[in-house]
Symmetry: C2
C-alpha cells in the first residue's frame, strides 16, 4: 500500500508533491487494512483492493493536513514530526491537502483497479458522500464550532460529530470490500460504525493517559482547551468500558464470516489497546 | 445547472453548506456551457450532461475559495462580493472549498448521470487528473512560487503555469461530451486548450484595461505586484492579437462539427470580448 501510494504521488513533482509524500507517510494504516481485509472476505483480489485502500489513506492524509492548519486545530506536530504548514508553509499545506483529496478520487476511479466501471464509480460516489459536507467535513465543522460554543457539547452531539469526523471514512473503508463484490454491506457497516466510535473514545482516553513520546502529540490538550470529550462526559473508566463494549459489538457483527474475519477482530482490539 | 447545484448543496446544512452555496453562485458558467455543448454535439442527453456540468462548476468554485485565502492570493472580494474567508472565516473557507471539491466527485459519479458506470468512473478519473497535483494544483503552486521568485516568469513558464491553473479544467469541460459518447476527444481538446490560454490572456488584458465595477476586482493588481503576465511579457496589443489567434484556432478545430458548433464558436469569441 505504501509502495502504491509512493508511486501515485511519484507521478508528480515539485514542492506540493513532496509535501504530499511527507504527509502520507507513517500512521497506522488502519483504514487501508479495513479495505484489504473486507475485500479478502469477499473474494476481491488484492490487486483490485489496493486501489481503494491507497485512496482512503490519501484522503485521510488530506484531512490531517487541513485539520492541522492554523485556522483549524493549529497543530505544530503530527506523528512526532512538524506538520506540513510548519515544515513548509500554509499555502503548501492547503495545496498538498487539496491534491491528496483529488488523488484519492483518481485512485478509486483508476481502471487498473476493479474491472467493473460501475463499481469504480460507486467507490467514488460513496467515498465522496463519506468525505464531504454530509460526512467528514461536517464533523470537522462541528468540531471547530464547538471550540467557540458557549456550552460544552453533550454526549449525543459529540457522538454525532465523531460519526462524521472519523466514523464516516472508517465505515467506508470497512464497506469497500462488500461494495466491490456487490454483496451485503451490513455486517461490515456495523463493524465500521462501532470501530469508528471506539477509535475516537480511545483517542480521548489516550489524550489523558497517553505517553507523548508514543502518541507524537501533547497530552491533555483537549482537557486544557476545556473541550468536551468522551472522557470528560463519561469519566475515564466508563469511557474505557464503552469503547470495549463497542469492540465486542464490532466483533459480534463479523459472526457471518466466522474465523475468516479474525484479523478484523484483532484490529478491533488493537484500536482500544494501542498506545499511540 | 444552477438549480442542480442548489439541490446538490441543499442536501447539506450548517455554515459550511451555506458558504458552499455562496461561493458557487454567479460567475460566467463557461465550463458548464462547454460540457453541455460538447455533450449536445455528441448526442448525450442534457439530463446526463448536467451532472458533469454541475461538477465542474463545483470544482471551479472550490478552486476560487482556496485561491482567495490569505495564504494564497489573499483576496477580499470576488465577483464584487466579500470572499468566503472575509464573509465567514478561514476555517469555513478551507472546509467549504474542501467540500465543494468532494461534491464535484460525488456529482460525476452519481448513477442518475450517465447510465454507463465506466463512463462515470472515467469522468472522475479525468477530472481528478485535471484538478490535482499534475494539473490545476500544480499551476496554482507555480503561481504562488512565482510571487517570491527572484526573476519574473518567462513566457514559456507562464504558459505552462496557466495550462495547469486554468487550462486543465477548461479542456476537461470541453472533452467531457466526447468522453461520455466514447468519441474522439481531439477536436474539443484543441478547442479547450486554445480557449483556456485565450481566457487567461484576456484576464491579463482585463487586469490592465478592465472596469473594476464590472470585473468585481481591483484593476492593475498584477502589475502593482510586479507579476509577470501575458501583457507584461508580450505588450498589450500583441497579447490581444495572441488571444484572437487562439480563438481562431479554437473555432477552426470545430470544423468537424460544422454549424452545430456555432454556440461554442460564440463562446470562444465571448472569452476575449467580455468585460468581466
Amino acid at each position: 500500500m505504501q509502495a502504491h501510494l509512493d508511486v501515485a504521488i511519484g507521478q508528480y513533482d515539485g514542492t506540493v508533491a513532496e509535501a504530499m509524500g511527507y504527509a502520507s507517510r507513517g500512521g497506522k494504516r488502519l483504514r487501508a487494512l479495513f479495505v484489504m481485509e473486507g475485500a479478502r472476505l469477499h473474494g476481491i483480489a488484492p490487486d483490485h483492493a489496493v486501489w481503494p485502500a491507497t485512496a482512503i489513506e490519501a484522503l485521510h492524509a488530506y484531512s490531517l493536513v487541513h485539520d492541522d492548519l492554523p485556522c483549524m486545530d493549529d497543530d505544530d506536530e503530527r506523528r512526532g514530526m512538524p506538520t506540513v504548514h510548519r515544515r513548509w508553509d500554509e499555502a503548501t499545506a492547503v495545496l498538498a491537502g487539496d491534491a491528496l483529496q483529488t488523488l484519492a478520487f483518481e485512485l478509486v476511479a483508476d481502471p487498473r483497479g476493479h474491472p467493473d466501471g460501475a463499481v469504480r464509480a460507486d467507490l467514488g460516489l460513496s467515498l465522496a458522500r463519506a468525505a464531504g459536507a454530509g460526512g467528514m467535513v461536517r464533523g470537522q465543522a462541528l468540531d471547530i464550532a464547538a471550540e467557540t460554543a458557549p456550552t460544552p457539547l453533550t454526549l449525543e452531539q459529540i457522538t454525532d460529530l465523531q460519526a462524521g469526523k472519523t466514523g464516516a471514512l472508517i465505515t467506508w473503508s470497512a464497506c469497500a470490500g462488500p461494495l466491490m463484490a456487490r454483496a451485503d454491506q451490513k455486517p461490515l457497516k456495523t463493524y465500521g460504525d462501532c470501530i469508528g466510535l471506539a477509535f475516537q473514545i480511545a483517542d480521548d482516553v489516550l489524550d489523558v493517559t497517553g505517553d507523548p513520546e508514543k502518541t507524537g502529540k501533547a497530552v491533555g490538550k483537549d482537557a486544557a482547551a476545556g473541550k468536551a470529550t468522551f472522557v470528560s462526559l463519561l469519566g475515564l473508566d466508563a469511557a474505557k468500558r464503552r469503547a470495549a463494549d463497542l469492540v465486542t459489538e464490532a466483533c459480534d457483527a463479523l459472526a457471518v464470516y466466522a474465523d475468516a474475519a479474525d484479523s478484523l477482530r484483532h484490529a478491533a482490539r488493537f484500536v482500544i489497546a494501542r498506545d499511540s
